[in-house]
Structures are given as C-alpha cells and as structure tokens.
Amino acid sequence: MPLARTPVNLEALRLTGRRAVAETLGRYAFFSAAFFSIIVSGMIVWSLAAETWTFVSQVDYSTLWTDGWFPRRGMYDIKTLVVGSLLTTIVAMLVAVPLGLGAAIYMSEYAKPSVRKVLKPTLEVLAGIPSVVLGFFALTFISPEVVQRLFSGATQFNMLAAGIGVGILTIPLVASVSEDAMRSVPDTLREASYGMGARRVSTVLRVVVPAAVSGLVAALIIAISRAIGETMVVFIAAGATGGSLFSVDVLGPGQTMTAAIASQAAGTDQVVGEGLTFQSLFFVGSLLFLLTLLLNLVADRFVRRVRQKY
C-alpha cells in the first residue's frame, strides 16, 4: 500500500493497535531479561547468607584457628584456605602481569595493524580454553616438566604449578583490559612525546603507561579477582583433596577456598549430615563472594577514573 497523506487530528497522531501492544510488550520483555539477573544475584546471596549464618552462630570459634582445614573432623582453619588462595594468586600474578602487560604493550604500541589482527584473536582463543584443560596441563606438564625440574623438592601436586596454570589462564584478561586502557590514551600524547624526540620505549614507559595507570591497576585487580575465584586448575593441580594442613610451601600441596568447596561438594552424600561440614562451605563461599565483590568494586572505580580523564 502506498503511503498517502492522511488528515491530521488527535486520532491520527495517537499510537494505537498492534503498534502500541508491540511497544509495551517489548518494553516488558527486555525489562524482565534485565531484572532476571538481579533476581538471581539476590537469590545467590540469600542462599549463601542463610547457611553461613547457621555456621557462624553454631561453630565453636576455637576450631577456626587450628592446624589445617579438615571440615569432616571439625577443624575449620580458615587461614589455611586464605593463605592457599593468596599464594596461588601471587604466583598467578607474577606470571600474568609481566606477560599480559607485555603483550598489551606490544599490541597497543608496537604491532602493525596486520599483526594485531592475528594476535588479538589468538589471545582470545587462549581465554576460551576450559580451565579444566589448563588444570590438567598444569598437573601433567607444568608440574613435572617445569616446577619439579627447577626445584627438586617439589611434589607432584604443588601450589606453584597450580599458580602458574591460573596465571596462564588470566594472561588474556590482563592483556585485553590493559590494551584497552592504553589504546584509550589519545594519540596526541604520543605525538607530543615523539615530537620532543622521545624514542618508542620512552614514549611507552613515560607517557602511555603513566597515562593509562588507573586502567592498568583495574586490569590487575580484575585479574586478582579472577585468580582467587578460579577453581578447576587449583582443584586438579594443587593437590590437597578433602582437607589440607596449613602450609606456606608453594612447592607442596595446598588448598584454596575454591578448591575446598569443590572437593567437599564433590563427595555429595558425605557432605551432608556430618556436623557443620555442609554449612562451612557456605561460609567459605560467602567469604569468597565478598572478597571478589570488593575487588570488582575497586576495579570499577579505577576504570571510571580512566574514562573521566580524557
């Protein structure tokens, strides 16, 4: 039907019929999609909170500071898990920050567009490797071929190999967020630097990196948060199943907060029914949730600061 001019009156200008229905339906459909994730987040917090409360109100506080994390024997030494998570995360960052940041600097400041076109998707493929595969790689390659060769005292399962595995897993994340931060530094600043006779290295280190620093800090925090939350790699490669003695030796086995939950939850029928074992997992889960939430909030502030500056 060809469009024809119709007389102008209130009826003609009113949104009616199917169009009005579609408009309203669309609005509600998209709203529910957005609202769904909020509801789910709320439900997760609620489910964590209830069992965590049971644990906190019933546990004997002296059992929170013992020689190790053995929930089935009533030993809930939380420092074992926190230190385990901390150590693997530190190792992971020692791997991911230099390599990720280096890759980001190369992609943002050195690589020709043609090279970047290949490099960036390759890094994103690395990001897509399932962590269970990387865990297996950490156990069967990093541990015997790297860690045990360098350190004769290392056991087959060790936190160092697990940390390196987690580090490899977070390289793409560090690289991608850092690259975005450096690419958002305006070219006018690079020109100013080159215009004064600065070489590329000086321009990168004295102009681009300082200008992008809040974004780079954000990349670090997001990566830490990701490393603390990583489960599968440490579950497979760090060794300690069921429980773990307190240990600060990265060459030996250890247990992280995530691996503790996974290893207990895997033995389904034994989890329920023995004292507070079941509830202790929720306690650890809450701790993990709060920690990563806090880190993400801090990272968000840093990212915002980058956006404000230019």
């Binding site: 006018t188 215009g195 004064m196 006779g197």
Partner: protein
C-alpha cells in the same frame, strides 16, 4: 586589497644560510600523492607561514620537516629535505635525533596528564638531565620564555590539565622550548583558542624569533599576515588521471608581497577571500 603585514620585513634578514631546503618534495599516503613538487628554502630566525585551503598539503609538508610523517605507516617521501645541508631522509639519520632539534606544537594543546613541572622536565629528562637544580632552572626559564611563569609559578606541582586552553598551548610551547631546539614547527597552534589567547601566542611567537626559527601552518590569513616574515601559499589541483586532489605550492614570497602584490592570480584570489 592589501592586508596590514607584520613588523619585520622579510628582506631585512635575507642572505643568511637557509635552515631548510626542500627540493621537489613529494609525499604519498599509500598510492595517493598528497603533495607534489614542493621546492623552497626556509630562512633562519624568521617566521615562515604556510597558508592555503583544506587538503592543500600544508600540514603534510610541515610534518616532513621533523619526520613526524614517519609515524603514519603508509606515508612515503620523495625528493629531498635538507636541514642545514643534511638530508633529513638519509638512511643514517635518526628521526628521534631530528625531533630533538626540531620541536613541534600541535593543533590541539596536548599537555601530558602530569604536573606542570613534569611536563616541562619531560624533554630535559629524556636528554639525561637529572639534577633537580638544573631541571628547576630549565622549567623556570622555559616558562618565562613562553610568558607563563607568572601565572603558574605557585602551582608547578598541580596538573597541567587544570590550565585553560590558551595556557595549555603556551605550556606546550614552553615544553618545546625546554629542550633548546633549533626550530619550532607549529601546526595551527591557535585553532582551538579564543582571540585573546591567540593574540598572546602571536606575541610570544614574535619574541621567540630572536632565538628560534619558526614555521607555522595556519588557516587564518590574518594571523599569517600579522606574524610571519614569509608566506607560502599552497592550493589543491585536481589530478587529471585519478581525479584526486594533490597539494601544490603556488607562491612563496615575503609576507608583505603575498598580501599586497602577489605574483600569482590564485594567491590574490585566496588572500582577498574570493576563493578557498
């Protein structure tokens, strides 16, 4: 119609050795020839202005003078640019060494997101100046030569981004002066500034000619008339084979002549506002 010209007549200083000698300079971006056969000499301690309509290649030629075009991957240069007799595009010449002697001020003020002090100390530090007292002296003297010292001396440690646009541009000039260059290239330095800030920069340029050779690209004809000793007028010509526009140098003469009795009819049309 004549426009009032700058105070110094270009002929007063003629005779000294040229700083730049361009011969048959051509610049390509990929296959596209942006500038064709530019030949000219730029004299020492003078202000040379490049004027012309958009796309005439004036900025491209300017950026050849300190090899800033190297940063554009597809850019390619033919012909020669001699700087005090040395071919700037000789394989042995390092672009970074060239840029330490030939500084640049850009269209948009681009201070680093650092303190005023650190902006000025950036260049000297690159050149290995480490002593605090030396840096302090350089910061003060370059801010003074950019007529900015009195306005910022009490807040050297605060961010340069807190300055006004005109102050930022004078800071960029000071930053350029801080490495004691031989030449200062200015690419439309006042296009982002209001008339008062523009007037201050123009005064500053005249003061700087006692020590520096200045080449300025401007799309403001009055500015060229006010500040420069010599003016080069560029325009675009349609390339018959490709139907694309290439920049050409039409006329290069003392500024007073360009704005009163230019040799070329196109120059006259442009400066009197009848074209471009």
């Amino acid at each position: 119609m004549a426009v009032t010209t700058g105070t110094v007549s270009a002929d007063d200083k003629a005779g000294s050795d040229p700083v730049f000698e361009l011969s048959s300079l051509e610049v390509f971006y990929g296959e596209f020839r942006a500038v064709r056969e530019v030949s000219m000499e730029i004299a020492e301690r003078e202000i040379t202005a490049f004027i012309g309509p958009s796309g005439c290649g004036k900025t491209t030629v300017l950026r050849c003078l300190n090899r800033m075009n190297d940063l554009i991957e597809t850019a390619r240069v033919q012909g020669s640019v001699k700087y005090h007799g040395v071919d700037l595009y000789d394989a042995a010449v390092s672009a970074t060494e060239v840029r330490r002697r030939i500084g640049m001020v850009f269209q948009k003020p681009n201070p680093f997101p650092k303190s005023i002090y650190d902006n000025l100390a950036f260049g000297p530090r690159l050149n290995g100046v480490k002593k605090k007292s030396d840096l302090d002296d350089i910061v003060e003297s370059s801010l003074k030569s950019a007529a900015l010292w009195d306005e910022v001396k009490d807040r050297l440690k605060s961010s340069a981004l807190g300055l006004s646009g005109g102050q930022q541009q004078r800071l960029c000039i000071a930053r350029c002066v801080a490495v004691k260059p031989d030449v200062i290239l200015m690419d439309e330095p006042c296009s982002a500034l209001d008339p008062i800030a523009t007037a201050r920069i123009e005064d500053l340029m005249r003061e700087l000619t006692s020590e520096y050779t200045i080449v300025i690209v401007t799309h403001n004809m009055q500015q060229a008339a006010r500040v420069s000793d010599r003016t080069a007028f560029f325009t675009t010509e349609v390339n018959p084979e490709s139907d694309r526009r290439t920049g050409v140098l039409v006329e290069y003469n003392p500024t007073s002549k360009i704005f009163s009795t230019p040799d070329d009819e196109r120059t006259e049309q442009y400066v009197t506002g009848r074209f471009g």
